[in-house]
């Protein structure tokens, strides 16, 4: 089974690089190769100039890693987990406290509580602290926001921005397309292959056609009707609107067509595409 194929990319210092893609796309496999846990069959990779195969020990000493599941000791408390990882990395909590202070203060009131009894959001914050405790140059975060509530997710990205400001390079993976906009550059990945790498802005710019949002009272019926319209190139539901592209650049006929079909109050306007639109577009190829 091919997990990842022909992946080539670079991440710059103090950049937040997002690896965006659904489950099974190959994100975790890629992370494991970069953190030296798996050996690639072909190709090379370096982290901070160190080769992932030959210099794996030095890489392991200098990166921070937060794997997919919350890999903390469930039966140890917040405090115990943190001091364990500090010791493992040959440092103490005090030494780099100012780096994790913002995050740790949010969970500090619960510091004697066992990690297994924490909420998803708190576990995530603890895991981040443990990954940062030794002041790594590079941070690998594999789906840190999956399964976490909306509010905690937003807080988490704020924390990442502050870390970037301190010069830490962050490679983060996520299945949530909306989080793509919070990264400096992103790589869209699906079925083990990279579909596109660039800044969110440029990816959006590279969307080939003009995108329109079409709304009416009966979205489901609208979906069916727009899809059966001859000039429609693509049509996908996005919440209360449909995102549509056309084969011919200028389309005049769709509004009367829909009116005939019984839609009384169709609204259509051009809109800038989102990362999700781009992802879907790239998937079709």
């Amino acid at each position: 089974m091919l997990a990842v194929k022909d992946i080539s990319f670079e991440v710059n210092k103090a950049e937040i690089f997002g690896l965006i893609g659904p489950d099974g796309a190959g994100k975790t496999t890629l992370f494991r190769i970069l953190t030296t846990l798996l050996i690639a069959d072909e190709g090379r990779a370096t982290v901070n100039g160190l080769d992932v195969i030959k210099d794996y020990r030095r890489i392991r000493n200098s990166v921070g890693y937060m794997p997919g599941r919350f890999s903390l000791y469930q039966d140890l408390s917040i405090e115990e987990n943190l001091s364990f990882f500090a010791t493992v990395f040959g440092t103490t909590i005090k030494e780099n406290y100012n780096l994790i202070k913002d995050i740790y203060q949010q969970i500090e009131p619960f510091k004697t509580r066992r990690a297994g009894k924490l909420s998803g959001g708190m576990k995530q914050k603890l895991a981040l602290c443990c990954a940062l405790i030794h002041k790594p140059d590079v941070l690998f975060l594999d789906e840190p926001t999956t399964g976490v509530d909306v509010v905690s997710r937003k807080e988490f990205w704020e924390m990442l921005k502050r870390l970037k400001a301190q010069g830490i390079t962050i490679l983060v993976s996520t299945p949530y397309m909306d989080e793509a906009n919070l990264c400096d550059r992103i790589g869209l990945i699906q079925k083990g292959e990279i579909l596109s790498i660039d800044t969110p802005g440029k990816i959006v710019q590279s969307f080939p056609e003009q995108l329109y949002a079409v709304k009416s009272a009966n979205t489901f019926k609208l979906l069916h009707d727009v899809r059966s319209y001859a000039n429609t190139k693509s049509c996908f539901a996005f919440g209360d609107a449909l995102h549509v592209t056309f084969k011919e650049k200028k389309d005049e006929g769709i509004l009367p067509y829909l009116h005939d079909k019984g839609h009384a109050d169709v609204v259509m306007q051009p809109i800038p595409p989102s990362i999700e639109d781009c992802f879907i577009h790239l998937l079709k190829d």
Partner: protein, 246 residues
């Protein structure tokens, strides 16, 4: 309009902790009802009570006309259920899974055979009929799981975060299936973390700290809170939550 789900002050307590607090709402036949809330808000508890899996501490509820206290077996026969964590048996084939669930839901042998063929055709899985589910891509698994959950034509289907982690195209194909079912008169009770999916629902309720903080159509909620999308509505309500998760 006929109510298929009716609750009145439905409550569940675990010791001193009130997981679900006096929930009162109705869901109509053929409606797509979005049941939203942050982790720890009480969604899972509420849903389990409605499926007859958890006995309420107090309050009333009827599902498809059956009482949740005394007629749980009848409820289970008339509903479908699909959860994100599990739905199909990985080491059984597509056909075996369909046949198994159809049988469990009480369908007769002849019916099972016809229904299986129908399903395979609908989902375009005829070639994969004898493939082990573990060898199917995630998106197909989810679609198959949904179809299996409605194989016995229930009046209501409960979907617990069915599209988690799935790629955007498959997600939408999944919702095509939901629309199709709703069109046929199946009531869909779905929880999701994707706010754009909230927009596909006829009505949506948002649970915060064990109570329903808001319930209406997405359009009305957006108007009420003054936002252009459901995500902002949700965020505003969730932000005030005191309970921070599981």
């Amino acid at each position: 309009m006929e109510s298929v789900i009716k609750t009145e002050k439905l409550t569940k307590r675990f010791g001193h902790f009130i997981a679900a607090n006096e929930l009162t709402f109705d869901v109509n036949k053929g409606e797509i009802f979005g049941f939203l809330g942050a982790n720890g808000a009480g969604k899972t508890t509420a849903m389990r009570m409605l499926c007859g899996l958890l006995k309420p501490s107090s309050g009333k509820a009827t599902i498809a006309g059956f009482d949740v206290y005394t007629e749980t077996e009848k409820i289970k026969r008339n509903i479908g259920y699909m959860s994100q964590r599990f739905s199909l048996y990985d080491n059984l084939t597509v056909t075996e899974n369909i046949r198994f669930y159809a049988g469990i839901y009480g369908m007769r042998i002849k019916q099972i055979k016809t229904k299986t063929q129908e399903l395979l055709k609908e989902l375009q899985l005829e070639k994969e009929a004898k493939t082990l589910v573990s060898d199917l891509p995630l998106g197909w698994k989810q679609k198959l799981a949904f179809s299996v959950s409605v194989v016995h034509d229930p009046s209501i289907v409960f979907l617990d975060e069915p599209t988690g982690g799935v790629d955007p195209v498959t997600r939408r194909q999944f919702w095509d299936l939901i629309y199709f079912a709703a069109d046929k008169g199946v009531t869909v009770f779905v929880t999701t973390h994707y706010m754009d999916e909230a927009e596909y629902c006829n009505r949506v309720s948002i649970m915060v700290d064990g109570v329903i903080a808001a319930m209406d159509s997405p359009a009305h909620l957006k108007q009420q809170f003054g936002y252009s999308n459901m995500e902002d509505v949700f965020y505003e309500l969730a932000r005030k939550a005191k309970r921070k998760g599981d």
